[in-house]
């Protein structure tokens, strides 16, 4: 029965997102296009952090790998959107495999630091090859390039529904994944790694798999961001963009399926609305974060699950 409820929740979420396009004013339609893309990134991060219990501080490298893999193969390789997109996602996956192979030798805080420093290395590599990447300034993917089979992806409608379709696929895939034995085993690792090992699970392999899937999702988000907003830049590889998904997931609720989306929406509108009220919006945002940790300890969805809806996936 809980299974039906969670299915209803997931379908319901998507129906609402679909309907929002027709209800919201233009600005918020644009905002939600962005939110859905970033939520894909948060969903990917959540698999590793929320379900597997591994805190990476370097996820921006996977997001950026998707972004640059996509952008460079379009601008330098002259590819069209679909193959370039696949290359971007593939680049993120490969990077996750390599970085994971090394970084997963460590656990806990050491894992945080290793991923952080790998991401820093990746960021510097982008700057170092400034001849191709234009360093911090980044480059533009022109409007005329951004189309699939003659459909212009730069209109508000096409942008929204491209983001929606990508989000829906990732969202449902992740919701399904964590219900399957793979997801259950990751949770087992999070709860007690030693016990999971004794139960006969190949913990190292499972962790690497989780990291690669997480990296792939981040890559999808990065490539989608470049595709839909036409810009590729090194700021998306900076530490800040490694901290964001952590913040989103913690705010929304780690280890819940809807948490990442809620976290992104919350953080986006927290900044957007408070900056409309006052110049000191970071003060407001900071206070809100502090209050939230005091009164919603498990994040928004997590606290909801604890207080009212125990079936929440």
């Amino acid at each position: 029965m809980d299974w039906t409820k969670s299915n209803a929740l997931h379908i319901g979420t998507l129906v609402v997102l679909f309907a929002l396009f027709f209800i919201l004013p233009a600005y918020h339609v644009g905002a939600f296009s962005r939110i859905m893309v970033l939520a894909i990134y948060a969903i990917g991060f959540n698999l590793l952090f929320g379900y597997t219990g591994l805190l990476s501080l370097g996820h921006a490298m996977f997001f950026a790998a998707g972004m640059y893999g996509f952008g460079l193969s379009m601008n330098l390789g002259g590819l069209s959107v679909l193959p370039a997109f696949l290359i971007g996602v593939g680049a993120a996956g490969l990077l996750a495999l390599g970085a994971g192979y090394l970084a997963l030798r460590t656990i806990g805080v050491a894992f945080m630091i290793v991923t952080l420093m790998f991401a820093q290395t990746f960021y510097l590599v982008i700057l170092y090859y400034g001849e191709y990447t234009r360093g911090d300034e980044g480059f533009i993917i022109q409007q005329t390039q951004r189309q699939i089979a003659g459909i212009d992806l730069t209109t508000e409608t096409a942008r929204y529904f491209t983001a929606f379709i990508l989000f829906a696929v990732c969202f449902l895939a992740m919701a399904r994944l964590v219900q399957r034995p793979f997801g259950k085993r990751l949770i087992a690792i999070r709860e007690n790694e030693e016990r999971a090992r004794m139960l006969g699970y190949d913990v190292a392999r499972l962790k690497l798999a989780a990291l690669v899937v997480s990296g792939l999702f981040s890559g999808v988000a990065g490539a989608a961001y470049a595709l839909l907003f036409g810009y590729v830049g090194a700021s998306f590889a900076s530490v800040q963009y490694s901290i964001f998904p952590l913040l989103w997931v913690l705010l929304g609720g780690a280890g819940t399926t809807v948490g990442p989306l809620i976290g992104v929406i919350f953080m986006f509108y927290l900044i957007d609305i408070s900056s409309g009220v006052t110049n000191a919006y970071m003060l407001v945002a900071g206070l809100a974060l502090v209050l939230l940790t005091l009164f919603a300890p498990q994040g928004l969805a997590g606290t909801l699950r604890k207080r009212a809806l125990p079936w929440l996936p």
Binding site: G108, I113, M117, T121, L124, Y128, A288, L289, P297
Partner: protein, 308 residues
């Protein structure tokens, strides 16, 4: 510049960077070691130290040394008090939960940054060093006339930079004495090793945590006062020290003060020396990657014990 003097200059510079790293990281080392919480706002306490140092030295007229000494005394206490307040108001209430502490301290980071921007402004402001003499350094080599001493172009250091190296050693020594020879240090170490056991033996863990958090922030501020005459006070200056300090603490091995020092030396010196052989950004890439690999092959850190 010839290779020899260049290497010497880079090593000196590496030593200065190491000293700065030690001064930045030791506060975090204590907080992280005892409380096991990731304080994202630690870099902001460093920044506050620099900004307050600017404020104090600006207020006190007369010789630069006067203001500097005043800042050395006043600023760490002030910042420590603020941090202890943060601990009492926020961290205690969320019971030092690891995840929630991250979010809460990100919130504190926003608040501190924005307040500084509004009250202090966006500019980078310099603080005058109490003394700053340029010392040209000699170099020895075998020339046509046998062994001789030359004064290579550019090979020099300033007295203040040497002072920073000395100050780092003194502060470390003092800290080590406090931790090993005083009752406060004993209580801190007991709490670090086993919080529940310490509590059972009557250690007021709550107060110890506030003390540690304040002490950690005060140390960061002290480091900032010492560093700010070399760098400048700027409202965004807390970001990089935070990351570097964090890296140093973990590479050194959790809660190990000697480890922190060795890691700071490793990172500072590698940063200095690798820059002799490669172009700057490439050197940075190599140094960052190599230091990460240290942790990959020694996950418990240089001086850390294998985690239970």
């Amino acid at each position: 510049m010839d290779f020899g003097p260049h290497l010497m200059l880079a090593s000196l510079e590496g030593a200065v960077i190491s000293a700065i790293l030690v001064l930045t990281a030791m506060g975090l080392s204590i907080v992280f070691g005892v409380m096991r919480v990731v304080n994202v706002a630690h870099g902001e306490f460093f920044m506050l130290g620099a900004v307050f140092a600017w404020a104090v030295t600006t207020m006190i007229s007369g010789h630069a040394a006067l203001g500097f000494v005043a800042a050395l005394i006043i600023v760490p206490v002030l910042v420590g008090a603020i941090a202890a307040g943060v601990d009492q108001l926020i961290l205690k209430r969320i019971d030092y939960d690891v995840d929630r502490t991250i979010v809460a301290t990100i919130g504190v980071l926003y608040i501190v940054q924005q307040s500084t921007l509004m009250l202090y402004g966006p500019e980078a402001r310099p603080v005058e060093p109490p003394f700053n003499l340029r010392l040209a350094l000699p170099w020895f080599e075998f020339g046509e006339n046998g062994f001789q001493m030359i004064w290579p172009w550019g090979l020099s250091v300033t007295t203040y930079k040497l002072f920073v190296i000395g100050a780092a050693i003194v502060v470390l020594g003092a800290l080590w004495l406090v931790l090993t020879r005083t009752k406060i240090g004993l209580v801190m170490r007991a709490t670090q090793q086993d919080r529940d056991m310490a509590q059972a033996f009557g250690v007021p863990v709550g107060q110890v945590y506030s003390l540690v958090f304040g002490l950690g922030a005060g140390l960061a501020a002290l480091g900032a006062v010492l560093v700010v005459p070399i760098q400048q006070a700027h409202y965004l200056m807390g970001g990089d020290p935070l990351l570097l300090a964090f890296i140093v603490v973990i590479i050194g091995g959790l809660g190990s003060l000697p480890g922190t020092v060795i890691a700071a030396l490793l990172i500072g010196m590698s940063d200095g020396i690798i820059s002799v052989f490669f172009s700057p950004t490439l050197a940075k890439i190599i140094a960052t990657f190599l230091v990460a690999m240290v942790l990959v092959f020694r996950p418990q850190g240089l001086m850390g014990r294998v985690a239970a």
